[in-house]
């Protein structure tokens, strides 16, 4: 028994060597590339975080959410307004903007969570647009209209450790992305993750096995929104300015593409999707005005050749066994 356990552990360490290699490469990246590319990789990190947050809603539960940027906007504006008006440090606002985005999601999604498929899709679009337009119209003079809010501080712990240059921001975002990934992998394997996947596969069956569908759907929205709020906080402190144009419908649909290009519900897939969306336009800068044209063609081609995404999620062992036995009985 003991022997079996040991080999198992040994296998685990070796099995994960590509991940360790990837982490090491990521750690030394800022020393070999210039500041511009460090910034590009920072935005890759932001997209990865947003993609992971949308992946909870879209990939795990299968709810169409095309207004996800709205939640990020709530997080970013919470950070911006509280920091510039009251001088609350950014690091304190990190959990606070997550809570405000999550609370907002809970508030607006409660009445609409029973809608199905495309109807939910248009409501989330509408919600995202309402948030953007409201921010643009400067309600009570706190959001600064289309100019946005500017002069946001850098994140810091006292005055000793200040995140104030590209390299530090790069490590900052990727540490958070890393922690999120660890959390999400655990979540996927938990009771909650299984309930989510069950709802995605068949809502009626899920409900009949005693899963509280409404609660789990709301939970997905709340968690996804909270993560998007965190991304909003980091984004605001990096750019030092937030304006409504950063949270348009176009950006929300790009997030949608990140999840689908990578592969629904697959964490490595989301990272690849985020890389595709954020790095692709950078590599093709030489094509100038044809850049987005090529980008669109690539999106269509990608879906034609790999409709399930680049790195689709592996089915679990039990599921695979079930499919195999089912196929076996059908054939013979």
């Amino acid at each position: 028994m003991k022997l079996y356990k040991d080999t198992n552990n040994k296998n685990n360490v070796y099995k994960y060597w590509p991940i360790f290699l990837l982490i090491i490469i990521f750690l030394i990246f800022p020393f070999v590339i210039n500041a511009y590319w460090v910034d590009v990789l920072f935005f890759f990190g932001i997209y990865a975080l947003l993609g992971l947050s949308l992946n909870i809603v879209l990939g795990e539960v299968g709810l169409f959410d095309l207004g996800h940027m709205g939640f990020m906007a709530i997080g970013a504006y919470t950070t911006a307004i509280l920091n510039t008006s009251f001088g609350i440090p950014i690091i304190v606002l990190l959990p606070l903007s997550a809570i405000s985005a999550a609370g907002f999601a809970w508030l607006v999604c409660s009445p609409i969570i029973h809608l199905r498929g495309d109807y939910l899709c248009i409501v989330t679009i509408g919600m995202g647009e309402i948030i953007r337009l409201t921010l643009n119209n400067n309600p009570f003079g706190i959001t600064g209209g289309s100019n946005g809010v500017y002069g946001i501080d850098f994140p810091s712990l006292g005055s000793i450790f200040v995140v104030d240059n590209s390299t530090k921001f790069y490590y900052y975002i990727w540490i958070i992305v890393g922690l999120t990934i660890i959390g999400l992998i655990n979540l996927q394997r938990s009771r909650i993750g299984r309930a989510w996947n069950c709802i995605r596969e068949d809502e009626v069956a899920a409900e009949s096995t005693g899963i509280d569908v409404r609660f789990y759907k709301l939970l997905a929205f709340v968690l996804g929104a909270g993560l998007a709020g965190v991304a909003g906080n980091i984004y605001a402190s990096k750019l030092m300015i937030v304006s409504p144009e950063s949270f348009s419908f176009m950006e929300s649909s790009m997030l949608f593409c990140i999840v689908l290009i990578g592969g629904m519900g697959s964490i490595p897939g989301v990272l690849i999707g985020a890389a595709a969306i954020s790095l692709f336009p950078e590599f093709f800068r030489t094509f100038a005005q044809y850049r987005m044209l090529i980008f669109g063609v690539t999106m269509v081609a990608m879906m034609i050749f790999r409709p399930g995404g680049i790195w689709p999620r592996k089915r679990g062992a039990i599921e695979r066994k079930l499919i195999l036995t089912k196929a076996g009985t059908e054939n013979g």
């Binding site: 009445p111 609409i112 029973h114 809608l115 199905r116 495309d118 109807y119 899709c121 248009i122 409501v123 679009i125 509408g126 919600m127 647009e129 309402i130 337009l133 409201t134 643009n136 119209n137 009626v204 419908f249 176009m250 649909s253 949608f256 593409c257 689908l260 290009i261 629904m264 005005q289 044809y290 987005m292 044209l293 980008f295 669109g296 063609v297 690539t298 999106m299 269509v300 990608m302 879906m303 034609i304 409709p307 399930g308």
Partner: protein, 303 residues
């Protein structure tokens, strides 16, 4: 009273644009269960096509048909062109992935939308174009103290004729019955001897053609066209589709007209800046109480 009537008329004009575009969304969705995100950009392409036709054709066509004849000719040619573009989009971007389910089609549709939008930018340039007064005739008429432009009359006339025609085709003809049969159940419709390929072809030609016509009319009404306007109108028209009940053709017409009027009411009685917020709030309220839209039928849950 006069102001209310004038605003109602303006709202109806904008609403008929939305309704024409919404019909394309609704027809495609009804048969394919697919949100054609490229539809808004096909509409913008129609607008640019009409512009070019009017500018370059003005010397020949306007001389023989007169300025009004030229405008209608441009509309018809743009409609044909966009119909062809619509079927091309279907062939290239959607047909290869029908078997893969609904979600890959969303990404493909967004990709097609980006391609069309940036294609317009590459061909016509990033700056807005204007339908000048040389190619578009417009007079302000005064009927019983209510001001109405001749373009408005043209727009309302043409869009109501088109909507009536489409309603007639879908509800009264054999071809329309085939479309409705496909919307109900595609595989059973195929078993009944309906050629699904033909239906899909016509759906993707007819919907964008209506959108293209709306594009030319928007150009005539507002004069200014931009290459990004497809997103805006597409989003509004999609909202209209959902408001009326997606996949439902009278619903799309009602939703579009209602949306235009709501927008006008919002901008007059609330504020211009918040008119879109008003529209979306109404949409969400409608969906909370009628989850399948105004005219949408209650769909039984499949178990």
């Amino acid at each position: 009273m006069k102001i209310i009537l004038e605003q109602l008329l303006n709202g109806l004009t904008i609403g008929s644009f939305y309704a024409l575009i919404a019909l394309g969304y609704s027809m495609v969705y009804g048969v394919m269960k697919l949100i054609n995100f490229a539809h808004g950009d096909l509409f913008a392409l129609g607008s640019y096509l009409g512009y070019t036709l009017l500018v370059f054709g003005s010397t020949y066509v306007t001389a023989t048909l007169g300025i009004w004849g030229g405008m209608i000719a441009a509309m018809l040619i743009a409609a044909i062109g966009i119909g062809i573009a619509g079927t091309l989009v279907e062939r290239i971007a959607y047909r290869p992935i029908y078997s893969a389910g609904r979600l890959p089609a969303v990404v493909s549709a967004l990709g097609a939308s980006i391609v069309i939008q940036n294609g317009i930018m590459v061909v016509w340039g990033p700056r807005p174009q204007a339908y000048s007064s040389k190619i578009v005739a417009s007079h302000v008429l005064n009927i019983g103290g209510i001001k109405i432009t001749s373009i408005q009359i043209l727009v309302l006339l043409i869009s109501f004729i088109l909507m009536g025609l489409l309603f007639y085709i879908v509800q009264k003809t054999t071809f329309g019955a085939a479309i409705r049969a496909c919307a109900l159940d595609r595989s059973t419709a195929a078993l009944m001897g309906i050629n699904i390929e033909t239906i899909i072809f016509f759906i993707f030609a007819l919907g964008p053609a209506l959108g293209g016509m709306a594009g030319v009319m928007v150009g005539m009404y507002y004069r200014k066209i931009t290459f990004v306007m497809g997103w805006n109108y597409g989003l509004k028209a999609f909202t209209a589709t959902i408001l009326g009940g997606i996949g439902n053709i009278p619903g799309a017409m009602l939703g579009g007209l209602l949306l235009g009027i709501l927008e006008m009411i919002g901008s007059v009685y609330i504020s211009t800046a918040y008119k879109d917020v008003f529209v979306f709030v109404i949409l969400i309220l409608v969906l909370i109480f009628r989850p399948t839209g105004l005219l949408g039928e209650k769909v039984a849950e499949k178990v």
